[in-house]
Symmetry: C2
Subunit: 454 residues, 2 copies
């Protein structure tokens, strides 16, 4: 029987060409001008699923962007694996920082360079090719379903309803997701925890028009100064979030578990060096890995107001805006936090401005027990390809839909990620090492093997 290595060797170029067809579609879910691209991308996915061997594949409408769904039912009595991935990508600005066209993939230095190369076109496509190999070589011993959505980067607003409406179709024993990373190519890891997310846009209005900063400056509140002060006041001198009730539901992690976490290989010096910073930052009393793994955050993702063009325009602007997000840890409810911040930020607004807070989206956190059979099958699969048992880690990122799957479909997810810290997902020059791409295609069939073993 042809081995996976032989199969990859023979089909390498085709695999990449197929992936590149996906990447070339600028499927930016957050920008309305790309609405039609989302459909193009969904249709492309169904073509690729059919080519890989599913029985049927269809583009499903949702209230937002479409879902590409495909399935191969070998025998209804067999176990079923549901693959979840997303076809949408993050915006690409600032464009001038990209070294190559974000939507024209280039292979250089052993990596694929493009928006979506890792997140999540590259990673989700590994599943299509692993499936193809198992099917073509007669090794597939379970049913496989693919659900590739188009709204992950905007918080999957339509997918919960889609799941509710297609519960029967989506029935499965486990959900398999490759949308996370591992510590390094030498130290494989599986994400066992994800942070939740709340995201707002705030608008601060001072005077009803932009004013001359000379004639009015000093006597009329400047909405940018005011917004800056309000933002600054949300973190105290220990970088602790001051929103009343914010930490109420945070599960404090035991000293024992923190000690275990501290054993993960980590160099603060190298971390700082790779980011070009002289010093790390964060909540007092926690290490860097704890700050991203077990603690919530308050970050301004964007800010704008007044004159931002060339040169010097003296203006006292009418409005200032910010996009604000909090990462949440297990047990924090995003809807509750969404409301807490809204109330708090409105309450600290001084009388001389008007503040509007819109809750743009949110999602819950997730924990995967390492005692799960499927988790153990994934562990063995990584061990065989990477020669080392993967470390279970709590990620700082969020995949809000993962908790929704558990709630709506009653199915746990295994986060078999193959991304690396250097992949620059969500940044200019996103990339994905070919070695990780092909190792993913090597690892996934082993998961099926161990998962379907009696």
């Amino acid at each position: 029987m042809i081995t996976i290595d032989q199969y990859i060797e023979t089909n390498k170029e085709r695999f990449l060409n197929e992936l590149f067809e996906l990447i070339r579609i600028p499927s930016i879910s957050s920008q309305s001008e790309h609405k039609e691209d989302m459909y193009r991308c969904a249709r492309k996915w169904t073509e690729l699923m059919l080519a890989a061997g599913v029985d049927r594949a269809e583009v499903y409408e949702t209230e937002g962007h479409p879902v590409a769904y495909g399935e191969k039912i070998i025998d209804p009595s067999y176990k079923t694996v549901l693959i979840y991935g997303h076809m949408d990508v993050m915006p690409v600005d600032p464009l001038n920082l990209w070294h190559t066209d974000p939507f024209e993939p280039v292979i250089k230095d052993g990596k694929i360079w493009a928006r979506g190369a890792d997140d999540d076109k590259g990673q989700s496509f590994m599943h299509a090719k692993a499936f193809e190999y198992l099917l073509k070589t007669g090794q597939l011993k379970c049913n496989v379903k693919f659900m590739i959505e188009g709204e992950e980067e905007i918080g999957s607003p339509s997918l919960p309803k889609f799941c509710q409406e297609h519960k029967e179709m989506l029935k499965a024993d486990i959900i398999l997701v490759s949308d996370t990373g591992m510590i390094s190519p030498e130290i494989p890891s599986i994400t066992t925890g994800l942070r939740g997310l709340s995201y707002w846009q705030v608008e601060v209005t001072g005077p009803n028009a932009d004013l001359h900063s000379g004639l009015f400056g000093g006597a009329v509140a400047n909405p940018i100064n005011t917004l800056a002060k309000m933002i600054a006041d949300v973190l105290d001198e220990n970088n602790h979030i001051t929103i009343p009730g914010f930490y109420d539901d945070v599960l404090e992690v035991s000293a024992e578990e923190r000690a275990k976490m501290a054993q993960a290989p980590f160099s603060q010096e190298e971390y700082n060096k790779s980011l070009g910073i002289r010093k790390e930052w964060g909540e007092n009393g926690y290490t860097t890995n704890e700050r991203t793994g077990i603690r919530p955050t308050f970050d301004i993702c964007g800010i704008w107001g007044g004159y931002t063009g060339e040169g010097a325009k003296t203006v006292l602007p009418s409005k200032a805006y910010a996009k604000i997000s909090c990462r949440l840890v297990p047990n924090q409810k995003h809807e509750k936090i969404g409301k807490l911040f809204q109330d708090y930020f409105t309450s600290i607004a001084p009388e001389y401005v008007n503040v509007k807070v819109d809750y743009l989206h949110g999602g819950p956190s997730y924990v995967c027990p390492i005692t799960l059979d499927a988790y153990k099958a994934a562990e063995k699969a990584y061990n065989e390809v990477y020669g080392r048992m993967p470390v279970p880690v709590r990620s700082g990122g969020s995949i809000p839909i993962i908790s929704a799957f558990e709630e709506i479909l009653g199915i746990k997810s295994i986060l078999m990620g193959f991304g690396l810290g250097s992949d620059a997902i969500h940044s200019p020059n996103e990339n994905y090492p070919l070695e990780q791409f092909f190792n993913g295609i090597r690892t996934i069939p082993l998961f099926y093997k161990y998962f379907t073993e009696e």
Copy 2:
């Protein structure tokens, strides 16, 4: 002899058409794509000066945008009036807030609506027409020089050198400037003080690339949060500026003078209502007019960083920027303040970010003694047209070049402004009432009359 009223009545339409030709040239000095428009505007000014009757008019090169200069020498032994104005205008964004094209003047509700309608095309052009009337009717009893520059809105960087190089040509007894406002059409006023200005751009850099706010958030300083905190720290709880040494040179105004200032008609309620604010703001211990007239300020004129597009992008940005300005009061030196802020802002930068502060421009403040003969001539002129002696007021605005004139040319300036608070200069929908435009043309010849009387 034909009166000014008759002359205006006969030539009204032509006056406006000529002004509109000036306004239609988008002479935005701060935007490099308008470089050629500055030359077009300067040539247009020389044409209009020649048409009004000067002996010669020329476009003079400077290190930056050109100067349009023209003169009518009746008799070298006569007094000389130097008219100063500026042909450049402020940027027009946000364009969507304009009700009409900013560079296609429209007359509606008795006002001219366009960028530059008041500041300063409308106001400076009144001088050309007043001069034309005096000359054509044989009433001109002094020499007149016009110096119309193209860099006022960016702080007149090239004009001091131009003045130095043309001291002889610019010799005059008084400089006449219409680039300020008056209290209301019922209460004329003359600006006797101007605030100085310092303007910086700051750049705060955190990590060397935009990061995923989930994977890194909480463990790496966010430059927007950091910038917000730094900005907030520059004003204390009394809205007093915390930059060490900032107030050292501020001349405190006596209780007596403050009492006199307080007699100027002013309704805080109407002020707030016209600006759409519930409450005024400012340095504790000062009234609104004191806050703009005799106290320095700290305003953020623009801020930007991270994701500012549609929807929700979760990013921990690499950089955040702000444009920052201080209005300064008499005796504060802008170069010194420029340096003080630069040093202070750099000194309060936390170790986990890099801060760069660029001093974009600055200008000194100005005071005009109300005992000056020329001031008295202006007073009488206003009194005759408006039926009331003008109130001397200290403006919050800045015309940095006015102090430079005094320093380099040794000539005082009279700020005969006819703008109104509702003219929205520097804002969308700038406008200038026709009545003020024509009253200006009525008032200026009277200034000449009283100024040249023995």
